[in-house]
C-alpha cells in the first residue's frame, strides 16, 4: 500500500466542511436541550424563570460555539492542545487560591458577570492534551515506562488540584477519562492492574484525607438507611422519586417528590430523578438511549478517523460524555455515591453545558477533518 494512494486535500473550504458535518450528532443537541428545558421548567414549578429560559439561551450560544469549533481546522486544535490545557491548570490553581483566601470550598472563578468552573473544561482539555501527546508517540515508545511519566502528570496534577477544592466527583472522572485514553493509546493491561493495586493500597490514606461530608456520603452510599433523615435522606427521596414514576410517569409537573421539594438539587444533580418521576421508566430509558446514540456516534467518528490524534480525541470525549451520564444516573439511582456530577445538556449550570458543547464541537471537528494529514512531529512528512 502506497502512502499517497488518495489525494488528500490539505485545506477544506466552508461548503465542504458543512457537507462533512455529522448532522445526526448536531441534531441530538437541541433534542437533549429540549428535554433539559422541560425538566427545568418543571423544577421551577411550571415556570420559565429562573432556570429554563437561561438554559435555553446558554444552549443557543453554546451551540454556536460548538459549530465554530467544529469548523476550526483540526491542525489548529492540535497546535493549541497544550496551551489550552496549561490555561485550564492555571485557572484551577487560581480557584484553589481564591478558595484558600475565602476560607471555604470553592469551585468557581469569579470573573465579574461570569462565574467559571474551570474543573468542567479541564476534563475536555485533558483529553485534548493526552491525544496530542500520544499522537506524537510510536507504538514501541508507548511501551516504555518513562513515556508514561508525562501523561500520568497530566492526569495527576489537575486531579489533585480538583481534590483540593474539594470535588471528589471531578477528580474521579479525570482519572477515569485519562486512564481510558491511556488504555486506548495502547498502554499495557498489566500496568493498569498495577495501578489498580496501588490505588487499593492507597485507599486507607485517601479515606483519612477525605472531608467529613465526603466520608459521610460514601458511608451513606454503602448504607442509605444509616441516617434516613440526615445524609441518607436525599438518596431515599431520590429512590422514591424514581420508583413512584412507574412505567409511564406521573406527567409533567405531576411529580410530588419534585414539586413538593422532597427532592434535593432537582435542577442540577438530581434532574434525572425529576425526569424519571414525571416521565417514568419509558422517559428515563428514552433519555438514556439518546445519550447512548450520542456516545456511539462519537465512537464511530473515532474509528473512521485517519489520524491518531482525532481517534484518541473523539474516543476520549465519547468516554467523558458516557461517564457523565453513567455517574449522574448511577448516583440518582443509588448505584454510586452522591458525588455532584451534572447530567449533560439537562442539568442547570453554564460551565458544564459549555464544556459538554465544547467536547461535542471537537468530536465534530475530528469528523470533518478526518482525512486531513497530521504530522507526527512538526516538520515531519505527513503521516
Amino acid at each position: 500500500m502506497t502512502p499517497h494512494a488518495r489525494i488528500r486535500p490539505l485545506r477544506l473550504d466552508l461548503g465542504e466542511k458543512l457537507r462533512a458535518l455529522n448532522w445526526a450528532l448536531v441534531l441530538l443537541v437541541p433534542i437533549l436541550g429540549l428535554v433539559g428545558y422541560l425538566v427545568l421548567y418543571s423544577a421551577a414549578g411550571g415556570a420559565h424563570a429562573p432556570w429554563a429560559w437561561r438554559h435555553a439561551v446558554r444552549l443557543a450560544v453554546g451551540t454556536l460555539v460548538m459549530l465554530a469549533v467544529a469548523l476550526t481546522d483540526v491542525r489548529l486544535v492540535y497546535r493549541f492542545a497544550y496551551p489550552v490545557f496549561a490555561l485550564c491548570l492555571l485557572a484551577l490553581m487560581a480557584v484553589d487560591i481564591a478558595g484558600t483566601l475565602s476560607k471555604g470550598a470553592q469551585r468557581w472563578l469569579d470573573l465579574g458577570p461570569v462565574r467559571l468552573q474551570p474543573s468542567e473544561v479541564t476534563k475536555v482539555a485533558l483529553v485534548l492534551a493526552l491525544a496530542r501527546y500520544f499522537h506524537g508517540l510510536r507504538i514501541e515508545e508507548v511501551g516504555r515506562p518513562s513515556a508514561l511519566l508525562a501523561p500520568l502528570g497530566m492526569i495527576g496534577l489537575p486531579a489533585v488540584l480538583v481534590l483540593g477544592q474539594p470535588d471528589l466527583g471531578t477528580a474521579v472522572m479525570l482519572v477515569a477519562v485519562g486512564g481510558t485514553v491511556l488504555f486506548l493509546a495502547g498502554v499495557r493491561i498489566w500496568k493498569f492492574l498495577l495501578a489498580g493495586a496501588a490505588v487499593a493500597a492507597a485507599l486507607p490514606v485517601i479515606w483519612a484525607n477525605l472531608r467529613d461530608y465526603q466520608r459521610e456520603r460514601v458511608l451513606t452510599f454503602l448504607d442509605p438507611e444509616r441516617d434516613p433523615l440526615g445524609a441518607g435522606y436525599h438518596i431515599l427521596q431520590s429512590y422514591i422519586a424514581l420508583g413512584s414514576g412507574g412505567v409511564w410517569g406521573r406527567g409533567l409537573l405531576g411529580g410530588t417528590q419534585a414539586q413538593l421539594d422532597f427532592l434535593p438539587e432537582k435542577q442540577t444533580d438530581f434532574a434525572f430523578a425529576l425526569l424519571a418521576e414525571e416521565t417514568g421508566f419509558v422517559g428515563a430509558v428514552l433519555l438514556l438511549s439518546l445519550y447512548a446514540t450520542m456516545v456511539f456516534i462519537a465512537f464511530a467518528v473515532a474509528l473512521r478517523c485517519e489520524h491518531h490524534f482525532g481517534r484518541l480525541l473523539a474516543a476520549g470525549l465519547a468516554v467523558n460524555l458516557a461517564l457523565y451520564v453513567t455517574i449522574n444516573v448511577g448516583m440518582v439511582a443509588g448505584l454510586l455515591p452522591v458525588v455532584g456530577v451534572p447530567l449533560p445538556f439537562v442539568s442547570y449550570g453554564g460551565t458544564a453545558m459549555f464544556a459538554s458543547l465544547l467536547g461535542l464541537g471537537l468530536v465534530l471537528c475530528v469528523d470533518v477533518h478526518r482525512r486531513v494529514p497530521l504530522p507526527r512531529h512538526p516538520g515531519d512528512p505527513p503521516a
Binding site: 502512502p3 488504555f183 447512548a292 456511539f296 465512537f299 474509528l303 474516543a315 468516554v319 453513567t326
Partner: protein, 625 residues
Amino acid sequence: MRPDLDRAKLFTRRAVVVGAAQLAAFGALVVRLWQLQVRDGARYAELARDNRVAIRFLAPPRGRIFDRRGRPLAVNVPTYRVRLVRERAPDLDTTLARLARILPLPPRRLAEVRRQALARRPFVPVTIRDDLSWEELARIAVHLPELPGLLLESALLRDYPHGPVLAHILGYVGPVAKEDLRRDPDPLLRLPEFRIGKTGLERTYDRRLRGRAGRVEVEVNAVGREIRAISRDEGEAGEDLEISLDLELQRFCFDRLARERAAAAVVLDAVTGAVLASASIPGYDPRPFTNGIDARTWRQLVGNPLHPLVDKCIQGQYPPGSTFKMVTAIAALEAGLVSPGYEVFCPGYLDLGNTRFHCWKRGGHGRIALVQALAQSCDVYFYDLARRVGIDALAATARRFGIGERFGVDLPGERSGLMPTRAWKRRRFGRPWQKGETLIAGIGQGFVLATPLQLAVMTARLCNGGRAVRPWFVRDRFPEAADPTGRSWPSLELPRAGLEAVLRGMYETVNGRLGTARASRLDLPGIAMAGKTGTSQVRRITRKERLTGAYREEKPWEERDHALFVCYAPFEAPRYVVAVVVEHGGSGARTAAPIARDIMRRTLEIDPAETGVLTAALARGKDRG
C-alpha cells in the same frame, strides 16, 4: 507507515472493549431503573403517596436576660402573625382583597406580599403581617373560612420592656445577615424567622442565648399539607442570663442623665468589678430593630449628631482632664521622685522654655502639697510632677490603671482610649515627642483619651487598695469575678503611703474647705464620699481669649468643655464607684459632680452589693441621737 497501522489496529481493538464496557454500564443503569420503577414501582408510589416525611426545624425560645435581682430585662412575648400559602388560595387576589377589608394594610404592602407569594417556592408561607393585636387576631380568625390560603401562627418575639434604658447594654436581635450564614453553620440561622444578636450582650452571648434547634418530622399529604408530627425534638431553650446590672439603679442613672444632651455614667462595684449601672444619653428604642428597622428611622439614628446608637460608656473617648491627676501623682510617688509632703510653689503658671503653661486659677495656689493640690486641682503641681516623671513612665502607670487598655468587658465595640508614649507619637505622626506635651498629659489633656468605663475602673483600682479589677456584666466573664472578696484580682503593688495621700486628696476634694466639689458633698449621715473633678478642654484657649477673659463667657455648646467627675464611697470602706461624663457640660464641679453625687446616694440606698453600710450608719446616727 506500519507503526501507525499497528496502533490504529490496537486502538480499534481496545475501542471495542471500551465501547462494550460502556454499553454494559448503560445496560446496568437500565436494569436498575427497571428494578426501581417497574418491579418496585408500586411500593415506591405508595411511599410517595402516604409516607412523606418532611423535616422542619423549630426555633428554640431564646434565653431571657435578668438583672442581678432577677428582674426581666429581655424577654420573649408571644405574637401572632398572619401568613399566606399561595397553593392553598384558589384565588390569591380575592383572598388578599378580603383580608384588606378586615385588616388595615397599605396597598404597597399588599403588592409586595403578592409578589413574594408568586416568587417563593411552593408551600413556603409568606408573612403578611407580624404582631397582630388580639382584636385583629380575633377578626381574622372569625373570617378564616372565607379566606382560603391564610394561616394564623403564633411565635415568640424578642421584647425589651425597658426600651432605651438598657438598649446599649442588651443590644438587640435582628434578621440573620448573609455574613452570619457564612460564619455560622447552625441550621437555626436558616429559619426565615430566626433572629440573631446584633449588638450588646445579645451579640456577645448569642450562642448561649440561642439554644439548640429542635426538629419535627411531619407527615405531609399529597398536596403538601401537614397531617401530623411523627416525632418531635424540642431542642434546647437558650440559656437564661443574669447580669450584674441593677435595673432600678440603671433607670435612675438614665433618668438623671437625661436632663443633659449627651452624657454617660458608669457605676462599678470596686471590689468585684461588677458593672452595676451603665447609662448613655441619648438612648434609642431597640424594639423596632427586631423585625428589621426601616431605612428612615435608621438614617435618623445614624445621622443624629448626638450619636444615640453609640454606647458612650465604652465607646465615647474623652480627655480625662483633672480626673487623671491621681495617676500622675501615683506615677511620681511610685518612681520615688517625690513624697506625699513634696511642695511646689504655684504662681498660676509654669514656664518651660519659652512656653507658659497656665494653672486654671489665674492668681495661683501659692505653696501647695499633694493633698491640697488634688483637692484644689492645682495644674502647676501636676505639670511639675509630670515633667519629673516623663511621658513613658507616666504612660506605664496609666496603663496599669486601665487608661489606653481594653478590658475585655462583655460588650462588643469596646474602645481602648489612648495613652500616648514617645514611640506612639513617632509612629503616628513621624515627629518626636515635645516636652510640653508631657506637661499637658500630666493633667489629662492633649493626646490622652479615656472612656467613662476606664475612668470608673481607674477609680476602682485606686480605692480598692490597688487591685486590678476588670469590669463585667456576666459573672463567668473572668475567673476572678467569681470571688466575692475581690482578692483574686492581681495587686498593682502601689506604694501604701502615697496611695493614702491620693485618696485623702480625693476626700478633701469633696469634703475639704477648699475642695473643688465641696458643693456636691453626700448628705447622708455618717457616710462620706471621695472624688475628683475634671474639666477637659475641647478646644485650646487662644492667647487673645486668655488676655481678654473671653474664654469664661458663654460659648456655643459644641465648644464648651467636657465635664467629668469620678468618685467612690464609703470613704472608709470603699465599695461603689461612679464615673460621670457630660459632653460639653462646661465644668466638672458644676455639672458632673452633682449628677455623680445623686447617683452615688441612690447607689448607697439601693446597695446592690448588700454591704449594709447605709443601715449601719443610720443605726449609729440613731444611737447617738
